[in-house]
């Protein structure tokens, strides 16, 4: 059984009189430990997909399964715990708490989990052991994103979801972040789902899901994904 499975998932928004299907019958599967890139243009429904997979939103119809559990049937409370224990989220704009240091930002997430990783260690893993006591405003964008990744990882989630993690970063830093995510996937065996509009990223994925107009356009698997350092965009 697949680790993640979308079966004919729909998400319909009521916009006044009009019903808009942001996700319109999406089906795909992801295996455990894969580095997955979801790619599609703006408005294709990839953010909606992310929201539903991340437990931030529920689907109108269809089934979402994760590690054998039916996420699509979760109520608010279960969704909250799902986000809490199963999902690690990396935001485009890092979303660090400005008033907490790097370490504290990581601990913010780990303190609510049952089986967290050591915050300092995780920060060391992402290469920030020397900035552990700095506030976000004292860190560069890349560093902030590393903190955000550390925060996601420290929860020891089942899935790491990253939404345009390089979107606010310069090219070089973006690459470093991609590398970090790829390494994390490889080193920790965590399933990583990266959402982007940038098709250049498809090369580094184990599995690429192409999204177009609310539907899965294509799913391809790379037997030998490239290293993040090698790709260019």
């Amino acid at each position: 059984m697949a680790f993640i499975e979308f079966r004919d998932v729909r998400k319909i928004y009521q916009m006044g009189e009009v019903e808009v299907a942001a996700v319109d019958g999406m089906s795909f599967t992801v295996e455990k430990g894969e580095f997955v890139v979801v790619v599609g243009p703006s408005g294709s429904g990839k953010t909606t997909l992310l929201n539903m997979l991340g437990g931030m939103d529920s689907c109108t119809s269809g089934t979402i399964m994760l590690d054998g559990r039916e996420v699509s049937a979760f109520d608010e409370k279960e969704l909250t715990y799902y986000r809490r224990y199963d999902i690690g989220f990396v935001f485009q704009f890092y979303n660090l708490v400005q008033n907490l240091t790097a370490l504290e930002n990581v601990e913010l997430a780990s303190q609510i989990c049952t089986d967290p990783l050591d915050a300092a260690e995780v920060l060391a893993e992402v290469g920030l052991s020397h900035r552990i006591d700095n506030f976000p405003s004292q860190l560069s964008g890349g560093e902030q994103q590393r903190v955000a990744i550390a925060r996601a990882l420290a929860k020891n989630p089942k899935v790491l979801l990253a939404d345009e993690p390089t979107g606010a970063l310069d090219y070089k830093t973006g690459k470093a972040i991609l590398k970090l995510l790829q390494d994390t996937c490889a080193n920790t065996g965590k399933t990583v789902v990266l959402i982007t509009h940038n098709s250049a990223f498809t090369d580094i994925a184990d599995r690429v899901i192409h999204i177009r107009e609310g539907k899965v356009a294509a799913v391809e698997q790379n037997a030998h994904p490239a290293s993040a350092e090698t790709i260019e965009w």
Binding site: F93, L108, A109
Partner: protein, 1091 residues
């Protein structure tokens, strides 16, 4: 203004109603409270003025210690500025109603004028007579029909239910009841409200009972004694009606007339004295005439008596002369008689001698005859024997013998023949001789006897003459004695009469001297304006207190309003950063862009201000006057909207908001458009002081860490929240503290300090006997503990070295316990702070704390005590006393002396005629006790503390409504501030919150994360507020305190807790109300770019 821009402005309002409302509400609160509180004082004065005008309250009261007659009233009415005048009687009495005693001031009422007046609205008493002054408003019942009906106060809190038809008995008067009143028992015909007594709880002071008047009453003028003079004249001042009472203009106008009346006070006194003197002289002349007539009469009577006596004397003398002549006559006849007797006696002696000589001769002749007889008889007897012997011898036959015998017989016969005849002849001769002698003797004897008889009758006559004389003499003696007695009596009478005349003369002379002295009588005319009317004056000073409070409270609201506007508008400007950049980029000028925010602020605060001002400047004065209505019987509550105040308040409110807005917008507008288009760099996190304390910091959870850091990160918000919440708590604490302070007056005074519940006051001349009767009666009930004290009302004055300095003067109760050692059983004497026991000593007096405060006294300092005159001013020489201790006391000003010290200072012995006792609480038993005690001679009043407590409790209910206002204001303040704070917190941190949600924080954890800050601020604010509240409460308490009362100085622990908890409750309500907003935050926000 361009249409689009204007639309944008309009929409910015409609699309952010919460923000708009926050500004509007705080502006409404700030401006409304400002205007409302500021207007309350003036509105109260306006209410007073309206009421006083409506009832034609006097502007001046002219009182003379000598009283007035129509002459003086005329004089007063002539004074320039006097537009109306009304002479009146008044007198203080202790009246008994339903068995309860009330010290009552009785006023005269012109019943005709009262009946002619009309009052339809319970306020305006219409009368055509401008000289009908102090018009009472009939609230219930009817005007008196006859002189034995009276009207009682409608606003007095009676100890029992008093209703129309009840009896009012005058038990005791300040002056002699009979001299003052023609009627001593009245029937209640109705109840009135009088503007002359604005304050129902403080009616005035008196010389009776406890010294405080409990109520007042009106009786018809005819109920006063016929020759009782007017005690006062009420005067209205021309033009004063048109000027508002209690303003400077009013006072100037009244003062001018008052000083003119004062100017004629000597005339008034002189004319009154002339009148009194003329009356007295006439009376004296009359009594002198009476006296003269009486004296003449008495003298006449004495003279008559004398004449009578003289007459009697003459008669007596006459009688004496007659007696003397009778005596002489008697004496001479006695002498005649004596000589007659002597003749008779000598004649008798001669006669007897002759008779004796004749007797002798007769006796000798007799003897011869007798001898012849005897020898004859012997011869016969011998013959008889011889005859017998012859018979025997013849019988015997012896004839010899017979012959012999015959012979012898014959011889005898022979011998005796003729003898008897001779004897008989001799005897006859003798008898003849004897009878001749006897006859002559008898004749002589007869002569003698008739002389003797003449003498005897003369003697008898003499004797009766003597007797007559003796009785005449004794009669005379009696007469003389009577006469002497009469003479004595008369002279005593005369002496007595003389003495009486002298006495009467002396008295008349004294009386004349008195009459002459009337001219020098020290009279005093007092011209008293309304500042001397305790009701009007305390109403005025309460209005003044509100003025003072109004200076402080609105400041708090304005401060909060400024902070709320500042934070809100700052947030708005920040939110619209990009928009501002866009406008700038489009070429709008800085001023133009700023104008949007200014317009927003002006509209928001303006709308709020207008609504707040209009509603609160109506509501607050109305409400506060309503609260005061329990104390002040002012039947109107005008609360006009004052344009100037509205403009000022609105100007202030809007101005503050505009300044805050300009301040908020200015910094952002200075930035270049390019920067504005970029998201503003988030405010950098900063380390805070707390972090340096590692052990503490390490223990904090992240939420706490972020909360702590946030608190100090946004200083404006921090200050706004702290000030706002502190203000809220402070208001609550002020309200509750005020309640404590006021309830403590009773709870502490009557619960902790006083341990007696009954006061019996006796006349100062009560005898020991009367006192012991009272003691006995008191001992019968309950605990039976009692203590005697001397009490008096005096005036205490501060002593100042600086002569120009104002001396502070207060009416005090002097208390001198007979036994200072046991006083503590009835009255705890202690310091307020530390509750240290204070003992009475001869070194100095104990003074109550409020008095010490008012006179700036401390232990060791000195002040003076004066006697008080008729209108309660100090009189005579001050007597200096030293303060030995300052004691806790809440009601009244007290000075406690030991008897020794009292005597030393006052120069007179204290008279212990006041009794403190602990008696039964049962009302029925009390009534019996009262009745029995009052029936005892010397007992003047019996009062129970419970009655006092009840009337205080009623009075203090007004505070509850003030507390309600404060609580509501506090709640509003808390809501606005907390709502604003939370709102900003949430909107500013939407991303953070969304992120937390995405991270898997449960709603509860998210709430905690956000609200921890709000609640922590609430806690800090509340703690600050408690401190602020102590200060504010202190200010309000000291400001609101009235002269004779000290409010409790402690805020109870419970009040701190309640104020704190209520603040927390308000905070929790706000957080609960804001929770949906927090819940609604979409996690998708976390994905959006930073604005």
């Amino acid at each position: 203004m361009a249409g689009a821009f204007r639309k944008e402005v309009v929409r910015s309002i409609t699309h952010s109603l919460g923000r708009f409302l926050a500004i509007a509400i705080i502006a409404a609160l700030g401006c409304g409270f400002y205007a409302g509180l500021r207007l309350t004082g003036p509105d109260m004065r306006l209410a007073g003025d309206t009421y006083y005008d409506a009832t034609n309250l006097c502007d001046l009261r002219v009182v003379s210690s000598l009283g007035f007659t129509d002459d003086q009233i005329d004089e007063i009415s002539q004074v320039e500025g006097v537009s109306g005048f009304m002479p009146a009687y008044e007198s203080d009495v202790i009246a008994q109603i339903d068995g309860v005693q009330y010290t009552t001031r009785i006023h005269s009422l012109n019943v005709d004028k009262a009946r002619a007046s009309e009052c339809d609205d319970g306020l305006n008493v219409e009368s055509e007579d401008p000289n009908y002054i102090n018009r009472p408003i009939l609230v219930e019942g009817s005007w008196p029909e006859s002189n034995d009906e009276c009207l009682l106060s409608a606003d007095t809190v009676w100890s029992t239910e008093v209703s129309v038809g009840d009896k009012v008995l005058l038990a005791e008067g300040a002056s002699d009841l009979d001299d003052t009143f023609a009627v001593h028992e009245y029937t209640v015909s109705g109840f009135v409200r009088s503007s002359y007594y604005t304050c129902s709880t403080s009616v005035g002071s008196t010389s009776l009972g406890s010294g405080q008047l409990a109520t007042f009453a009106y009786v018809p003028e005819g109920a006063f004694a016929e020759d009782f003079p007017y005690t006062e004249a009420f005067v209205t001042v021309a033009g004063a009606r048109e000027v508002q009472w209690a303003t400077d203009d009013y006072q100037l106008l009244v003062d001018a007339t008052a000083s003119r009346i004062n100017g004629i006070s000597d005339d008034l006194l002189a004319s009154r004295l002339d009148g009194i003197r003329a009356d007295a002289q006439a009376e004296l002349d009359e009594s002198r005439a009476d006296f003269e007539a009486e004296r003449a009469d008495a003298l006449q009577k004495l003279d008559d008596a004398q004449a009578e006596l003289d007459d009697a004397k003459a008669k007596l003398d006459d009688a004496a002369a007659k007696l003397a002549s009778s005596q002489a006559t008697l004496d001479s006849s006695a002498r005649d008689l004596a000589s007659g007797q002597a003749q008779v006696d000598s004649g008798r002696a001669e006669l007897e001698a002759q008779f004796a000589a004749a007797e002798e001769q007769f006796a000798a002749a007799e003897a011869q005859l007798d001898a012849a007889q005897a020898s004859y008889d012997a011869a016969m007897s011998q013959r008889a024997q011889l005859v017998e012997q012859l018979a025997q011898a013849q019988a015997a036959g012896a004839y010899d013998v017979v012959a012999q015998l015959e012979a012898a017989i014959a011889q005898i016969d022979a011998q005796t023949a003729g003898v008897p005849e001779q004897i008989a002849q001799g005897r006859a001769q003798l008898a003849e001789q004897r009878s001749q002698a006897q006859a002559s003797m008898d004749a002589a004897e007869g002569e003698l006897a008739s002389s003797q008889a003449a003498i005897d009758s003369g003697r008898a006559q003499l004797e009766s003459g003597c007797r007559q004389l003796a009785s005449g003499r004794s009669e005379y003696e009696d007469g003389l004695a009577q006469y002497e007695e009469g003479a004595n009596e008369l002279s005593t009478q005369r002496a007595d009469a003389e003495e009486q005349f002298a006495d009467a003369e002396a008295k008349l002379a004294d009386a004349q001297a008195d009459v002459d002295a009337i001219a020098d009588t020290e009279g005093e005319v007092y011209v008293l304006d309304l500042t001397k009317n305790i009701g009007a004056e305390s109403f005025k000073s309460d209005a003044g207190r509100i003025d003072q409070i109004a200076q402080v409270f609105p400041f708090l609201f304005f401060l909060v309003a400024a902070l709320v506007s500042l934070t809100t508008m700052t947030r708005m400007v920040e939110e619209e950063r990009v928009l501002i950049g866009t406008f700038k980029a489009l070429g709008y000028s800085k001023a133009r862009i700023t104008s949007k925010y200014l317009i927003y602020a002006i509209v928001a605060s303006g709308v709020g201000a207008i609504i707040g001002i209009v509603s609160l400047s109506k509501f607050l004065p109305w409400f506060i006057m309503g609260a005061y209505a329990i104390i002040y019987a002012v039947p109107c509550r005008p609360c006009p909207i004052d344009p100037a105040m509205t403009a000022a308040a609105a100007g202030l409110g809007v101005g503050i908001t505009v300044i805050a807005t300009w301040f908020a917008a200015a910094s952002t507008l200075r930035e270049r458009p390019a920067f504005l288009m970029l998201p503003r760099a988030p405010k950098a996190g900063k380390r805070i002081l707390l972090e340096r304390i590692r052990p503490v910091w390490r223990r904090l959870s992240f939420s706490w860490k972020v909360t702590s850091r946030n608190l100090f990160r946004y200083k404006r918000r921090f200050i706004m929240a702290i000030v706002g919440i502190a203000g809220c708590t402070a208001l609550l604490l002020t309200g509750l503290g005020l309640q404590n302070a006021i309830n403590d007056i009773i709870d502490k005074q009557y619960g902790e300090l006083y341990h007696y519940n009954t006061i019996v006051r006796m006349a100062s001349d009560s005898t020991d006997d009367e006192k012991s009767q009272v003691e006995q009666r008191v001992e019968e009930d309950a605990s039976g503990e009692y203590a005697w004290l001397a009490t008096a009302n005096k005036q205490a004055q501060s002593i100042s070295d600086d002569e120009s300095a104002d001396v502070s003067q207060h009416r005090v109760d002097i208390v001198v316990p007979e036994n200072p050692d046991t006083l503590s059983d009835f009255n705890t004497l202690r310091t307020r702070e530390g509750h240290e026991e204070l003992a009475l000593s001869d070194d100095g007096v104990l003074v109550s704390e409020k008095l010490a405060m008012e006179l700036s006294l401390e232990v060791g300092s000195t002040f003076s005590i004066f006697d008080e005159d008729a209108v309660g001013d100090a009189t005579g020489d001050g007597r200096e006393v030293t303060v030995a201790g300052i004691m806790e006391n809440y009601v009244g000003h007290y000075v406690y002396f030991t008897p020794t010290l009292y005597e030393q200072v006052m120069g007179e012995e204290p008279v212990f005629t006041t009794l403190y006792a602990n008696e039964v609480e049962d009302e029925g038993a009390r009534e019996v006790l009262s009745d029995e005690l009052l029936a005892t001679d010397g007992v003047k009043t019996v009062t129970y503390n419970d009655e006092t407590i009840d009337s205080y409790r009623t009075m203090l209910k007004s505070v509850d409504s003030v507390v309600v206002v404060l609580v509501i204001a506090a709640a509003l303040l808390a809501f606005v501030v907390l709502y604003n704070l939370t709102n900003i917190n949430i909107t500013e941190r939407v991303r953070e919150i969304a992120t937390l949600k995405v991270l898997g924080f449960t709603p509860r954890e998210v709430d905690a994360y956000i609200y921890r800050e709000t609640l922590l601020l609430a806690v800090i604010g509340a703690l600050v507020g408690l401190l602020l509240g102590i200060v504010m409460e202190g200010f309000v308490v000291v400001t609101a305190e009235v002269d004779q009362v000290m409010f409790g100085r402690d805020i109870h622990a419970a009040s701190f807790i309640i104020a704190f908890l209520l603040t927390m409750v308000f905070s929790v309500i706000v957080t609960l109300a804001m929770r949906p907003k927090l819940r609604r935050i979409d996690m998708v926000e976390s994905l959006k770019s930073n604005e």
